[in-house]
Amino acid sequence: MTRVKRGYTARRRRKKIRLFASTFIGAHSRLTRATTQQRMRALVSSHLDRSRKKIYFRRLWITRINAVTREERVFYSYSKLIHNLYKRQLLLNRKILAQIALSNKNCFDMILNKIINKKIK
């Protein structure tokens, strides 16, 4: 085989990795070995967190809905709301409910009334 120098191949590869980790703190953005490792960890975290993101947001919506349902109604809570929601055959999901509770409180009150009042009958 003819002689092959390694030239710039490694540098080009590492440049991309360094760009990815350019905002990391300290040695993690400066030293090549550390940057490659940190880049791997970062990508793994982002992959895992994509699934977790869905969980976090669902938790947030539930908390918000809970807070709003408990505001003016004694003895009413998120769990009862969801139970009655399914009983009244509403298909709205938590994301929409939370968003409506945030932006259009009147509408949310109407939904609540619809869910609660029929139960009394």
Partner: protein
């Protein structure tokens, strides 16, 4: 008495006018009395007679349960808040979108695999469709209406004049008109039409703007000390839909919102 919870996990695409198609999704669920009433109403409404039997719900499996809108990293709750950011009552009407170049109505059979090809162009359909289209343009921009629509098992808050990114709608070409039947809630200034579970004969008219791809996501799999690394890029196909109007909800029983004076008092 069973609940309707399982409907969330079903994913389908409904382009069609007839409300019979929405009811297809309830096929696997225990049919309740309320559903049957609605079904008879729907068939009376005049949907295509020859249309699907109860068993032709199409399920196109897609992994994601939650939408990712562009800008992709602003998540649904943030993004839908950009749609209804300022209070609902002060929406500025956006300039009307340029009229679609060709009004191509997708054949009904696109989403159904086993519907016979005869249904592609039934005669009564164009008339019905044009009437609805006329109504849609009359009702569209400038109104303080919003609707909650379910597309591909995700729910979106939808305002005429704005666009949303949904999962890729197969068979939809650019500038195709699409009618979304699964309207769960319609809200106007003083009224809310809460669907149980669907606001019957309500339809959201939309135009397919673009069939694109989401931003690239790097799926990096790594096991330490085992020399295992996989670097995979992924772009999820999506469809951008511009909402032109919300129609057909007036006949549904509405809940009146309290008057502002009463609320203040």
């Amino acid at each position: 008495m069973k609940f309707l919870a399982p409907i969330k996990s079903q994913q389908f695409i409904s382009y069609q006018i007839s409300t019979q198609h929405i009811l297809c999704t309830s096929h696997s669920l225990p049919v309740q009395i309320g559903w049957e009433k609605r079904e008879s109403m729907a068939s009376a409404v005049g949907a295509i007679a020859a249309l699907s039997t109860f068993s032709t719900a199409v399920r196109i499996p897609k992994p994601l349960l939650f939408p990712e809108h562009r800008p992709p990293h602003s998540f649904p709750s943030n993004c839908s808040s950009t749609y209804c950011n300022s209070p609902f009552l002060s929406i500025h009407p956006l300039p009307p979108p340029s009229p679609p170049l060709g009004r191509k109505w997708k054949p009904l059979a696109v989403a159904l695999e086993d519907a016979p090809p005869v249904e592609d162009t039934p005669e009564p359909e164009p008339v019905e469709v044009q009437i609805e289209a006329a109504v849609a343009t009359a009702n569209s921009k400038g109104e303080d209406v919003f609707a909650v629509v379910m597309i591909g098992s995700r729910q979106y808050i939808v305002i005429p004049g704005r666009f949303i990114y949904t999962q890729r709608l197969k068979g939809a070409n650019v500038n195709d008109k699409v009618i979304l039947n699964k309207v769960l809630l319609v809200g106007t200034k003083n009224k809310a039409y809460i669907g149980q579970p669907v606001v019957t004969s309500a339809a959201v008219h939309a135009v397919v703007e673009e069939q694109g791809l989401n931003k690239k996501v790097i799926v990096f799999k790594y096991k330490r000390k085992k020399n295992y690394r996989r670097n995979i890029g992924h772009r999820q196909p999506n469809t951008r839909i511009r909402i032109t109007g919300i129609t057909g909800y007036e006949d549904y029983p509405a809940d009146m919102l309290p008057e502002p004076e009463a609320v203040a008092a």
